[in-house]
Symmetry: C2
Subunit: 156 residues, 2 copies
Amino acid sequence: MSTIKNQERLEMNEPIIRELEEDDLTKGFLNTLDSLRKTSNLSNGKAIEIYKKIRTNPEHHIIVAEIEGMIVGTTTLLIEPKFIHDGGLVGHIEDVAVDKKFQGQKIGEKVIKYSLEFAKNQGCYKTILDCTDNVKKFYEKIGFKNMGNELRFDHN
Amino acid sequence: MSTIKNQERLEMNEPIIRELEEDDLTKGFLNTLDSLRKTSNLSNGKAIEIYKKIRTNPEHHIIVAEIEGMIVGTTTLLIEPKFIHDGGLVGHIEDVAVDKKFQGQKIGEKVIKYSLEFAKNQGCYKTILDCTDNVKKFYEKIGFKNMGNELRFDHN
């Protein structure tokens, strides 16, 4: 009996994975990003401005996980056309975030796997991301391999 | 006398650093990329197609170094608008390449420094890149700091 209940709960909480729409800005998307860095204090006007700027690049995709009408997970996939690799495409994954109340439900894994499938369908030969040591194993389980170092230059 | 000659040579070889133009595709740009991976075998038609695709993203900048009418160095700067960091911009540096005949003349350093200045002027709060251990010191001298790992997923 308890097994069935768990199964029902899992089915109810199975997220819809899709691209970000403007309406999502007021449906938990910014709060989800709070788990990376406080973002929900952005005004709605500013959030719409950023959304529109992102939309000017046809290769900038923001993926979201929706449960019961609310955004609870997200990641970004930038697709970069290159001259090398015969004009090959490379996917860049950025800003993987899951709302704190929904962590531990494989939502991060689901948005990553969706992004990888999306990148593959667009013709990417590889997808890369940067991460700290503490989450490396999570990505290695999905199939990522450690290739090098992430270096950062601060402008200030 | 020999010192003056060296100085003259250095002045003559001082590259012009600027953004890629379509004409550069047949002026050494693809050969410069050969130092990363064979690229000069791309047909001119295919190269123009890639150039036009890249141009559809206003935040995708290809920087080149020109000496005496020929491209001898390049890098790519992708500028990514984010929701986090109050809609902050992040620069991504990719594909740093210098024509083999011109290596050892600080051309790589010049295209990187130009890209960092460009990113700063666009309002980026940081610029990141991925590199292998053997070139890490080169970037650290410019001011980059090691922040994490580059992970790669191959689609095939």
